[in-house]
């Protein structure tokens, strides 16, 4: 216990914990939306394409996360646009975007003269290297998303559920979806710092999928996803520290384990007669 208190006295660990908490809020909100709208794969495309922007930014000496953000926002809007036109097979388009982004990123990182940037950090995240300005960005985004969902909950959920019906009622469906897409892209990019390009998607997808086993209401899933994400990432972070494992990967293991346990609880609930659960 003392060791735990001592751990929280380190600035780097305080930062890491704050980053995990803020990212949990972001991932819970955005993850619930993308899981409900079945656009997890689309978000995967956005995530990996952003690596291209990162590579280019590195080569020219700009902020890698700015480069990633530009790439992510444009891919998100591009996907939203092409899926609306409906003249391209969406899964193929996403796959191209996915691997093209990674290819561009790798080539530019390779071309960058001098020292090779920490590729592993980009790909798998490095929560222990979080700086105060990262926390500021995460906090701003978390607050914006929270307020956005609070004030525009209904339009966001309804346009995700039945866009055609909303269009008939003259709701600004495209605008709402575009704005949401931009926020998804920004959320992904800021979370890459913590989880890396390859792992970030699970942080968004696992908690809502796990909560969805029991809850069927968007707002309920959203709130419990944040809680689950927070529990999973804190536990993962501590485990990673004590066992000296990579933090991002350990967090994903923890979340997957939670999903598995919840899934088993649900199975048991279905197969056991109600009385046996009560008597035990």
């Amino acid at each position: 216990m003392n060791e735990l208190i001592e751990l929280f006295s380190f600035t780097f660990f305080q930062n890491a914990f704050a980053a995990a908490a803020l990212t949990s809020i972001i991932a819970g909100i955005v993850g619930t939306y993308i899981v409900a709208r079945r656009s997890v794969f689309i978000s995967g495309g956005i995530t990996h394409s952003s690596f291209g922007g990162m590579g280019i930014a590195y080569y020219f000496g700009w902020s890698p996360f700015l480069g990633a953000a530009v790439f992510a926002v444009f891919s998100a809007l591009g996907i939203e646009f092409t899926s609306r036109k409906g003249n391209m097979r969406e899964d193929s388009a996403i796959a191209i975007l996915w691997s093209l982004g990674m290819a561009i990123g790798i080539v530019f990182v390779f071309l960058t003269p001098g020292y090779t940037p920490n590729l592993m950090g980009f790909l798998f995240g490095d929560i222990l290297a979080v700086k105060p300005e990262d926390l500021f960005y995460l906090l701003t985004l978390a607050v914006t998303l929270g307020l956005g969902v609070f004030f525009f909950y209904e339009p966001i959920v309804y346009t995700a559920f039945d866009a055609d019906f909303c269009k008939i009622n003259k709701m600004p469906v495209q605008t709402i979806r575009m704005v949401v897409s931009i926020f998804i892209a920004i959320s992904i990019v800021l979370s890459i710092k913590i989880m890396g390009v390859i792992l970030v998607l699970s942080l968004f997808a696992i908690p809502p999928s796990a909560v969805n086993l029991f809850a069927k209401r968007f707002s309920t899933i959203l709130i419990w996803s944040i809680v689950l994400c927070l529990v999973g990432s804190t536990a993962g972070l501590l485990t990673a520290y004590y066992l000296d494992l990579p933090s991002g990967a350990t967090i994903i293991f923890t979340l997957s384990l939670i999903y598995l346990i919840l899934w088993m609880i649900k199975r048991i609930h279905i197969y056991l007669p109600k009385s046996s659960l009560i008597s035990n």
Binding site: T32, A36, R38, N87, F151, F152, E154, P155, V157, Y158, A160, F161, D162, D164, F165, C166, K167, I168, N169, K170, M171, P172, I176, N212, A215, K216, R217, F218, T220, I221
Partner: protein
């Protein structure tokens, strides 16, 4: 009486495929128009034109400034696993008469309660939409179409999933609603259509309007509308001409 909606000489289709050509239809208040036609004949395309989801490649749609459409889609177009409650679905219909950023008014909430009670689903209002049967889901979407108090109700194949017990109620309800609003009903079930509606439009590439609800095989043939006349009594049977 002014017209709610005028469709004038409309062509429509997707990409290079023309599905409808030279379509005309006028919808007046308190009309009850049944739309029939073979699969692939353009019934759904025609509806999309009316509700504004598809722009005609040619021709005009004139809508009355007070036109308020309540729309009941085919429920197989809905993601049934989406995490949304029955009550939320019904309330999502209110934007035809409310700005998109507004919270529901107390009048709307009351109307929502009344509608759910009316279709017998008030006890299911906090259930997820995916936990309902097809018939129950259809009723929820009917409530969603009605909550904004439309003056034109458009129903796309409403009897596909509705259980027989509710089907009777649905038809009674439509007749009742038709006292104050216009109804357009798309159905493959010609027998039902002819007993309910006032006029009939057969959509098969073009649109043939028939200012009565009497359908005969000769009529359908002359309109090039290849549908079988099937009526649902106690035993499904084909309706034959007098002989």
């Amino acid at each position: 009486m002014t017209n709610l909606l005028e469709v004038t000489n409309v062509d429509a289709g997707y990409d290079n495929q023309r599905i409808l050509h030279g379509v005309n239809l006028t919808v007046k208040p308190l009309d009850f128009i049944g739309i029939i036609g073979p699969n692939g004949g353009g019934k759904t395309t025609f509806l999309k034109i009316i509700i504004g989801l598809l722009t005609p490649t040619n021709g005009n749609i004139t809508k009355h400034k007070d036109l308020k459409i309540g729309y009941l889609p085919q429920i197989n177009s809905i993601d049934k696993q989406f995490p949304i409650t029955v009550r939320e679905v019904v309330l999502s219909g209110r934007y035809a008469s409310s700005s998109w950023w507004r919270k529901p008014s107390s009048k709307t909430l009351k109307k929502c309660d009344e509608l759910l009670q009316f279709v017998g689903l008030e006890h299911k209002q906090h259930a997820a939409i995916g936990d309902l049967s097809g018939g129950q889901m259809q009723r929820v979407f009917l409530c969603r179409a009605l909550i904004s108090e439309p003056n034109l109700l458009i129903l796309d194949e409403p009897n596909t999933y509705v259980d027989k017990a509710f089907e009777e109620d649905l038809y009674k309800l439509l007749a009742e609603l038709n006292k104050t609003l216009a109804v357009i009903l798309v159905s493959h079930d010609v027998g039902t259509v002819s007993s309910l509606v006032k006029t009939i439009a057969c959509v098969n590439g073009g649109l043939h309007y028939h200012a009565s609800n009497k359908i005969t095989n000769d009529l359908l043939q002359s309109y090039n509308c290849p549908i079988e006349l099937i009526s649902h009594g106690k035993v499904p049977h084909r309706v034959l001409k007098d002989h």
